[in-house]
């Protein structure tokens, strides 16, 4: 997606550069691409609107237009804005987790829709508070709705060694909450962690119940637990929970999935509250402080690409990398370089497996397969290059029709295949020229498109 956005923006800016003037239409087209990217990542529409208003000026400003790689500049601007919003001003205070500075027992209330992950999160949070902050925690389930919900939390409590408030059949959530606080006080607990039943924000009765629980225990923290896969509805639920019940923060769950996570931005923007933690797995220790950068990258589909580049960098032999850097600096890229890149790619072939471990990998995997990272093809392409003379490799311009025919015959391939390779080479050489202007750092960051030339093998 990051690639798609960069490419699409690239097209827009190319057109614009050819004409030399910036029309209203060009600006609109560039902004539209950003908008679509955000919507595809599930950022809610009203939030997208505000966001666009905020980046508009900058995204089509002088700096971008004069830049060699305007598309990448724009992506960076968008990314930085996203990260800034997600980070927020409060988060520094919360860098290490939850503010629990109140007279104990401090009540912490978890709220959210059905199936958002409240119960698992309650256990994770309890474990974290117990182990990292040495807090004495009491786990409480107010979920008298879902079958076996209370039992679920009881079992989890046992697993992590945190006491669970015994269930009294027939007791109402507000009564349980009051009893929990009283019990927490007499037992000398630091934190009383209250899990609630999942509720739809349009369910009047259940929202009143949540507000009543809140009024009864006056929690120091009321946290909305929301699924990272949430779509446009994030706006409605964030509004309703913050207006009807009141929130102090957000916990984003299932970040280990491959959703783009645009809901994070929606929730943050609508509630104005910080995202304090994110759930990254099913196990009770899979809870991490929120990483704004990571989520911003993900919304744009960049995070994964960056980690992929990191992995790729490990695979590429140091020597080769240095050679490539030198080439880069000289701005020259010949077929010998391409050949060594192909070899590297082949080494990365085993990455398919590793890839499936990364979040958001579906897209990249597709890219990889679309880019035909196929051993056989890579080998054929290497064969083509090795059938060339040294002079041809250094100076690909020499490759006229008859030479191409000779090479095809020599490598056991076909002329169209040779042509395809040459096209791929030209695309890459072009990209390398641009990279040169970015410098080696730029390569480290944007190396991937160089390795996977914009779908070259599909030509």
């Amino acid at each position: 997606m990051f690639d798609t956005l960069t490419t699409r923006l690239g097209d827009v800016f190319d057109r614009l550069r050819r004409r030399g003037v910036l029309s209203e239409g060009d600006v609109a087209a560039a902004l539209r691409e950003i908008r679509v990217a955000l919507l595809e990542a599930d950022v809610a529409l009203p939030v997208v609107r505000d966001f666009m208003a905020a980046v508009r000026e900058e995204a089509v400003g002088e700096n971008v237009l004069r830049s060699v790689t305007p598309a990448q500049m724009v992506v960076k601007i968008v990314h930085d804005h996203l990260a800034a919003i997600l980070r927020g001003a409060e988060s520094e205070a919360n860098a290490e987790g939850l503010d629990l500075n109140a007279v104990p027992p401090v009540a912490v209330l978890l709220l959210g829709l059905q199936g958002s992950g409240k119960t698992t999160t309650a256990a994770k949070l309890a474990k974290r508070l117990k182990e990292r902050e040495r807090k004495k925690v009491l786990l409480v389930s107010l979920d008298v709705q879902r079958p076996a919900a209370q039992q679920q939390l009881a079992v989890l409590g046992r697993q992590i060694g945190v006491p669970f408030l015994a269930v009294r059949p027939g007791e109402k959530p507000v009564e349980i909450a009051r009893r929990a606080l009283a019990s927490g006080k007499s037992e000398g607990c630091d934190v009383v962690l209250l899990d609630t039943a999942g509720r739809l924000h349009v369910n009047e009765e259940m929202m009143l119940e949540a507000a009543a629980v809140r009024a009864a225990v006056n929690p120091h923290q009321s946290l909305l637990v929301a699924d990272a896969m949430t779509g446009q509805d994030a706006v409605n639920l964030a509004k309703a929970f913050s207006e009807r019940v009141g929130l102090s923060g957000i916990i984003l769950t299932r970040v280990d999935g491959d959703a783009r996570g645009g809901a994070a931005l929606s929730l943050r923007a609508i509630t104005g509250k910080p995202i304090v933690f994110m759930g990254t797995g099913e196990r009770v220790d899979a809870l991490e402080p929120f990483h704004a950068e990571r989520i911003a990258g993900r919304i744009l589909g960049m995070g994964d690409v960056v980690s992929l580049v990191e992995k790729a960098a490990e695979t590429v032999e140091r020597e080769d990398a240095e050679k490539l850097t030198r080439k880069l600096e000289s701005g020259r890229f010949d077929l010998d370089d391409l050949s060594s890149q192909l070899r590297q790619l082949r080494r990365m072939g085993g990455m398919g497996n590793m890839l499936s471990l990364l979040p958001g990998v579906g897209k990249i995997k597709k890219q990889l397969s679309e880019a035909n990272i196929d051993e056989k093809i890579l080998k054929r392409q290497e064969a083509i290059i090795s059938s060339m003379t040294g002079a041809e490799r250094k100076n690909p311009k020499l490759l006229n029709g008859s030479r191409r025919r000779r090479i095809a015959a020599g490598s056991g391939t076909s002329v169209p295949e040779v042509n395809r390779l040459m096209k791929q080479y030209q695309d890459m050489a072009q990209m390398m020229k641009q990279m040169k202007k970015l410098g080696p750092k730029g390569f480290a960051r944007h190396g991937l498109p160089g390795l996977f030339p914009g779908g070259a093998p599909r030509h």
Partner: protein
């Protein structure tokens, strides 16, 4: 069967008066006509869309601005940008620059949405030749699998079938107990092993047992799993493999349960589950909230997986057949 395919001669039951009342007594609302319930569930979804349509189109020319606002309303239903653009474009072709009333736009919009979901609007057909008919229920965590099983169990029990439930979620704490409670409520035996048991082994035993007992339908619950976790998806494939040892045609149906609140990730879910375990049908849950389920429209276009039913609440009665016309009409706020 009637439940799944509303026959034309079936008299329409009186509709419930208004949605707000529904909201006041949500959990144990008495059974009404399925359509009334679907409407009540969808009413909240359509209320906002409706409001927006009225604002946009009351006495207005269908110009570019109006079309792009319309497109945004569709996007807000999670339909996805591309499909929303297509739907808006089809209105542009036919109605551009005409003076249009909101009703008209809504009808055209509904027709377009219905056209897109019509091909996938297919009931879950239980083949009586296959006994027990094995239904494997899959989906990401918390999507509503177990509750959907309870709803299906209630429905088939009411039809007089012998239904057996298999507690295949051996991972999540108290998942077995949850299904056992539903089994008791719906009067269906539950086959279970302890937490941490091998899910495939349990599924195998359950099918064996259901065969022995001469059950008509076996509903197998599975642990929620994110579709990008290779190992967990592999476990699911293993369940399918062992079922085939007892019945080469099993599972006869693989239901993917999707949460209506989910955005575009529903596509990745559908793709992965389909690829790994051959999803044969979709049930979408939680349509009783404000989530509009528009993603079903783009899913229909992309994968063509049959959509069987919608979940519109938390009790065992809250399952509705998926019906293209009424889904579309309700979505855009039209009386069917």
């Amino acid at each position: 069967m009637r439940f799944w395919r509303r026959s034309a001669e079936e008299p329409e039951e009186p509709e419930e008066p208004e949605a707000p009342q529904e909201a006041l007594e949500p959990r144990a609302a008495p059974a009404e006509g399925w359509f009334g319930r679907l409407k009540a569930g969808l009413a909240k979804s359509s209320a906002r869309l409706n409001e927006g349509l009225n604002r946009i189109f009351t006495r207005r020319r269908l110009d570019e601005a109006a079309l792009s606002e319309l497109e945004e309303l569709l996007i807000a239903s999670d339909m996805g940008v591309r499909v929303a653009e297509e739907v808006a474009a089809s209105l542009r072709r036919t109605r551009f620059n005409q003076e249009v009333a909101p009703e008209e736009v809504r009808a055209a919009l509904a027709a377009e949405v219905a056209r897109l979901v019509e091909p996938v609007s297919r009931p879950l057909v239980i083949d009586r030749e296959r006994r027990p008919f094995v239904i494997l229920v899959v989906g990401v965590n918390g999507s509503g699998k177990t509750t959907t099983i309870a709803k299906l169990a209630r429905h088939y029990r009411d039809e007089g079938r012998r239904v057996v439930l298999a507690a295949g979620d051996t991972f999540r704490a108290a998942a077995v107990e949850q299904l056992e409670i539903w089994g008791a409520r719906t009067g269906c035996p539950v086959i279970a092993r302890g937490e941490g048991a091998d899910a495939a082994g349990l599924a195998y035993d359950a099918l064996l047992e259901a065969q022995k007992e001469g059950a008509d339908i076996l509903l197998i619950d599975t642990a929620g799993r994110l579709h990008n976790k290779a190992a967990l998806m592999g476990e699911l494939q293993k369940i399918v493999r062992v079922l085939k040892k007892l019945d080469a045609a099993a599972p006869h149906s693989v239901l993917l349960v999707l949460d209506a609140t989910t955005g575009q990730n529903a596509h990745a879910q559908a793709e992965a589950f389909r690829e790994m375990v051959g999803v044969t049908g979709i049930v979408m849950t939680k349509l009783d909230g404000t989530a509009k389920g528009g993603v079903l429209v783009s899913l229909a276009e992309k994968y063509g997986i049959p959509i069987h039913a919608l979940g519109v609440g938390e009790s065992a009665e809250d399952l509705r057949p998926f019906e293209a016309q009424s889904f579309a009409q309700n979505l855009v706020g039209l009386e069917p």
